[in-house]
Amino acid sequence: MGMTIAEKILARASGLQEVKPGQFVTAKVDTIIGHDISLAAFRELERMTADKVFDPERIAITCDHFVPSPTVNAANQIKELGEYINRYQIKNYFEVGRGGICHALFPEKGLIRPGDVVVGSDSHTCTYGALGALALGMGSTDIAAAMALGEVWLKVPETMRIQLTGERGPHTSGKDLILYILGKTGTNGALYKALEITGDAVGGLHMDERFTICNMAVEGGSKTAVIVPDDATREYLAGRVPPDAQMRFYKSDPDAAYCADYVVDCSEIEPMVACPHSPANVRPAAQLSGVTIDQAVLGSCTNGRLTDLRAAARILKGRTVKPGVRMIIVPASQEIYLDAMREGLLETFVRAGALISPPTCGPCFGGHMGLLADSEVAISSTNRNFTGRMGAANSQIYLASPATVAASAITGRICDPREVMTS
């Protein structure tokens, strides 16, 4: 029996010829990532009495959640993190103003490579599956153990295959695909499983869209998601990863076993929206045009990349955000911010009446930088719409693509982007 790409990566990292779903393995980790809230992991490392980490070159930390610090406690969290960074001599540390949101930043800096086992103290670490890595979110004690030992215990997951076929319609993006998939699997339909996103239509997905798809795989309960690297992956990595870096381009065997197999015809997918309070409560945007909004958010590790900003700018160009609606735009990294500036996207946003934030996770997780008031409604390109996540407990969040968020911002209600782009 052959192996899937996820199984091959785990077998290699565990020093085994072969692994099977359900088997427990101890895998060597290639990269560990974290952010300002990962201070908790360094405290645990200290409690473990570890006087060093397994490899300071293989740990990457950025300040992104409480950035810039909204409270004294948040400021102290980052200050204390900096002290641990020095003490454990962590090499890849990105201070405020030097980096951005972890899952946009670390691939951009060439720190994630195909075939790597990556663990991170953030649930959206699965984003890196877009590069053909096996990437797993964990909590702070697990990450501390990985930093101390350079390995993690894992149960080999079953793999669920999702084959994307057909040609996408206009204004339909990777976000619409993953929302559609979540609508089919539900919030726990992929519990403990690895998703393998494959099929003819993958070749036509921009790397930014692949990041979006793998990013939100966790909302279906899955352990991770992975896309077999191709020419687009190689092109993305060129110039980012050092020429001597080790990269392992795995693909699944033709006789690999899958626990489930879904075929998704992309030509049938419209702009989709996840309604309160679940990322799997998905309906076409066109059916929700009666829902008025108070705030539109464009950004996050899910959809704050350059092509996301471009998609929104195409709609906002020469138009204005509807009076009474706030639009907050958050480029996900300093590099993306600079590119958006050079391309004139930021000017388009400001002229449209949108507020541009520095790279931060703030509004997405309800930390700061634009919380929702009582009973307010938001449309957001972020990843979770759980009760109260972005502010007041009785506020409501609809999740959508950057194009749908922008179209909704100018109309003041949930709006299928095809509606404003044909008129």
Binding site: A40, A145, W153
Partner: protein, 171 residues
């Protein structure tokens, strides 16, 4: 046998309702104080109602969402002794075990137990007794790795022991 009182929840209880994100800049200093915010997202008074030794019983996918370890820490420091669910979100499951909070899978019990009933858990026997009805349930046995971590008092102490003993021993 003394039992813990049951607090019943549905499916897909997410970590944002267990501990809202805005508190995550505050939890590092004094994690034990997180109990006061337990379930703040849906019931800010929960902490005042719960008694030490109580038990949470929930449906599928308990703890979905963020990897924030503050979620099981808040539940544990509110006084909850065991978590029983039909299934758990994987990151939450690991986090709970790592801080020494036992998480048990027992779908049949979840179907049958009512809020306020008292359960007695015997980890070593793999049994849960409903003290109000007398019915005994068996839960899914914990895997060997999970059992070792719980026996050590959590993953931090487990790793501490490992760092002190043989450096190259297996995980």
């Amino acid at each position: 046998m003394t039992g813990g009182r049951v607090w019943k929840f549905g499916s897909d209880v997410d970590t944002d309702v267990i501990i809202p994100g805005r508190f995550l800049a505050d939890w590092n200093k004094e994690p034990e104080k997180m109990g006061q915010y337990c379930f703040y997202g849906i019931d800010p008074q929960f902490n005042t109602k719960v008694q030490t030794g109580d038990i949470i019983v929930a449906g599928d996918n308990f703890g979905c969402g963020s990897s924030r370890q503050a979620a099981p820490v808040a539940i544990k420091s509110a006084g909850i002794r065991y978590l029983i669910a039909s299934s758990f979100a994987r990151i939450f499951y690991r986090n709970a075990i790592n801080i020494g909070l036992p998480v048990l899978e027992c779908p049949v019990l979840v179907e049958e137990v009512n809020e306020g009933e008292r359960l007695a858990v015997e980890l070593d026997k793999g049994e849960i007794t409903n003290l109000d009805t007398g019915k005994v349930y068996r839960f899914e046995p914990l895997n060997e790795m999970v059992q070792q971590i719980l026996d050590s008092g959590g993953l931090a102490l487990y790793v501490q022991k490992r760092l002190k003993s043989v450096l190259n021993s297996s995980f």
